[in-house]
């Protein structure tokens, strides 16, 4: 993973923040109660290079989907900077932003709601191609568009005669393939995949994962792959970032992270995933309790109330993300599995 420096940087995010003010009722406003602010993403920095996948792991409510949507400028960022291929898109607006959008696409979680039920496969793909003038206008534009659609269908492993069908006629796995084709139609350099396989059955999941890896290799795409499933992330990612309550708490090359997790939370997540081995059952909970509400964050390290190793320092001082081993960053005062501890 060290040769990555030669590859072109596609996505760079610096200190990204996104807050949601909770709605105040009129009585609150009269009583001059301050509006509560939910900080969903709190100072996240990421880098993704071409042909690489960054896996983003965390439990529900940790802000991973908000991060993805803010980074795609579907939500307005409240701080930080976003660069795609070196272009700062943080404050881009209107037509300029819309033109830029063909560079970064998204694959959605729910194959049943991510396709417009009233548009055939052809209409869905053709619209994307036409809006961004992917196929240059000319006398045989129509044929060239059709040829391009067929190429896309071949690429995602869909039958060519499904071109005039509607989403309702396909199964979940096939719909997900159409969703992938739609994202690929505009020749992006970066794709966010937000839990793309968690709504699919295991056997179909494997097909879609293989497809994503294949496409990445062919098109040299950068991926941000969001998932709660540690196994899937390990399979598909080159780097992994673990999020907890809006912050990245560990960021490392995949194998380093799985072999030697440095943050107690990462270790606990791995312990909690059910092992596929009936002879290896653990009777103890991996962790007690549930994450606190993001509206009411603990002081110091956000994980300290649940951390088995917490000390007074953890309760008072928020740890910064720092490099503890080559390429491995962790936000913990007392990282586990440090080289000298071994």
């Amino acid at each position: 993973m060290t040769q990555t420096t030669e590859k072109r940087m596609v996505v760079e995010v610096r200190d990204l923040k996104k807050c949601f003010p909770s709605k105040r009722t009129i009585t609150d406003a009269i009583a001059k109660k301050p509006a509560q602010v939910l900080t969903a993403v709190d100072g996240v920095s990421l880098e993704i290079r071409e042909g690489e996948t960054l896996g983003l792991v965390g439990e529900s409510g940790c802000g991973k989907s908000t991060l993805a949507r803010t980074l795609l400028r579907l939500y307005e960022p409240d701080g930080g900077q976003i660069f795609f291929n070196g272009v700062d898109v943080t404050n881009m607006k209107g037509t300029e932003l819309r033109k830029q959008r063909r560079d970064f696409q998204m694959i959605f979680q729910d194959p049943y709601s991510s396709l417009n039920p009233r548009k055939s496969v052809r209409a869905t793909l053709e619209e994307a191609l036409r809006v961004h003038n992917i196929i240059e206008p000319g006398p045989d534009q129509k044929e060239r568009i059709e040829r391009r659609i067929y190429t896309l269908l071949d690429l995602v492993g869909m039958n060519r005669n499904s071109i005039d069908r509607y989403p309702g006629e396909f199964s979940g796995g096939q719909r997900q393939r159409i969703g992938i084709a739609r994202a690929l139609a505009v020749n992006p350099s970066f794709i966010v995949a937000d839990e793309p396989v968690s709504a699919l059955d295991v056997s179909i999941q494997a097909q879609v994962l293989n497809l994503l890896t294949e496409i990445q290799a062919k098109e040299n795409l950068a991926f941000l792959f969001i998932s709660h499933d540690l196994r899937v992330v390990r399979l598909i990612s080159h780097q992994v970032a673990v999020m907890y309550l809006g912050k990245v708490i560990e960021y490392a090359p995949t194998e380093d992270l799985y072999e030697t997790p440095h943050h107690p939370y990462t270790q606990i997540l791995m312990k909690a995933a059910p092992v596929l081995d009936a002879t290896n059952r653990n009777r103890d909970y991996a962790i007690e309790g549930e994450p606190p509400s993001p509206l009411n964050l603990p002081t110091g390290c956000r994980f300290h109330p649940r951390c088995p190793y917490a000390t007074d320092k953890c309760r008072e001082e928020q740890p910064e993300l720092r490099e503890v081993a080559p390429g491995c960053k962790v936000a913990c005062h007392y990282p586990l599995n440090l080289p000298e501890q071994k």
């Binding site: 033109k99 959008r101 063909r102 709601s113 039920p117 006629e169 293989n210 294949e214």
Partner: protein
């Protein structure tokens, strides 16, 4: 390596080929969906024939009085009897069809369009636009439909056009509310988010992606609303606020027959039956349309 990738994609195509056959739905003809649609359509076709070709169906001139045939009971000669001027009621009912059906359709169409646009804008943009539009809607909603219509006609003066304006000013509220609530759901769906990610313009997203997915409920409502508008028109004419006599119109016919209830029951009853049949026809049609749209959207 490259070659390997190609074969596996090919395999997947092969694999999915066999399976897709199961997912093709059997194509149904539209009349196979719903019995009420079929019955409704039959009635509507008859009503429309009456509306378009009254001159071929009505046996007498609707407005020619006949002093020799005053208040005759229904017979082979005068199917629905005659009125106090000796006019043939069946002919008047046939000629009235045109006005009543037109009232139903015209009174419905403008609110359908205007209300849907208002609902789309309020639902999609939200914020203060939504707040203003919805407060106006609340005010209109606060009064009973027919009362609002009567008040507006009273201000504008009676007459067919004024009655239309009155209904237009009130009826948009139902469409706006219906469409707005559907837009609120649709705009958070992932396919709309996908459209945004693809950099589509807002107009394209609203008209191309949201509208087709929310218009069904408005259309279903409109099909039932025709009846409502027809009845409102008839009621207004009955009250003397709509169509002016002697123009044959069902509500007005009932109104003129009312004083003679005891001597000549047919004068108000039979035009009432006509309203009833047309109303049931359009209701069944509306019901059927919603069945078909529901089946199609699956």
């Amino acid at each position: 390596m490259e070659q390997k990738d190609n074969t596996s994609v090919f395999e997947q195509t092969e694999a999915s080929r066999g399976e897709e056959a199961h997912h093709i739905k059997k194509k149904k003809h539209f009349w196979q969906y719903s019995m009420s649609l079929n019955i409704g359509l039959v009635i509507i076709v008859i009503v429309l024939i009456f509306a378009f070709f009254p001159q071929f169906i009505a046996p007498y001139e609707p407005n020619t009085s006949n002093p020799d045939a005053i208040m005759l009971a229904p017979s082979a000669e005068h199917l629905f009897g005659t009125d106090n001027y000796g006019r043939d009621i069946f002919s008047r009912v046939v000629w009235g069809t045109r006005i009543d059906v037109a009232m139903g359709i015209f009174a419905m169409i403008v609110p359908l369009i205007v209300g849907s646009i208002i609902g789309l804008i309020a639902g999609y943009y939200g914020g203060w636009i939504d707040t203003i539009l919805m407060r106006i809607l609340d005010v209109v909603m606060a009064f009973p439909f027919i009362l609002m219509v009567i008040v507006i006609v009273a201000i504008l003066g009676s007459g067919l056009m004024n009655m239309f304006i009155a209904i237009w000013l009130v009826a948009w509220r139902d469409y706006a509310r219906l469409v707005r609530s559907e837009v609120m759901i649709a705009k958070h769906s992932e396919y709309v988010m996908a459209a945004k990610v693809l950099g589509y313009s807002e107009i394209r997203i609203i008209l191309g992606h949201i509208l087709p997915n929310v218009v069904n409920s408005a259309i279903t409502f409109a099909a039932a609303d025709i009846v409502m508008c027809m009845l409102t028109g008839a009621s207004m004419s009955f009250l003397g606020l709509g169509v002016e006599p002697p123009t044959p119109e069902w509500g007005a016919l009932i109104s003129t027959g009312r004083p003679f209830m005891t001597q000549a029951w047919w004068m108000c009853t039979l035009p009432g039956v006509a309203i009833c049949i047309a109303g049931v026809g359009f209701s069944l049609f509306g019901d059927g349309i919603s069945d078909v749209l529901r089946a199609k959207s699956r």
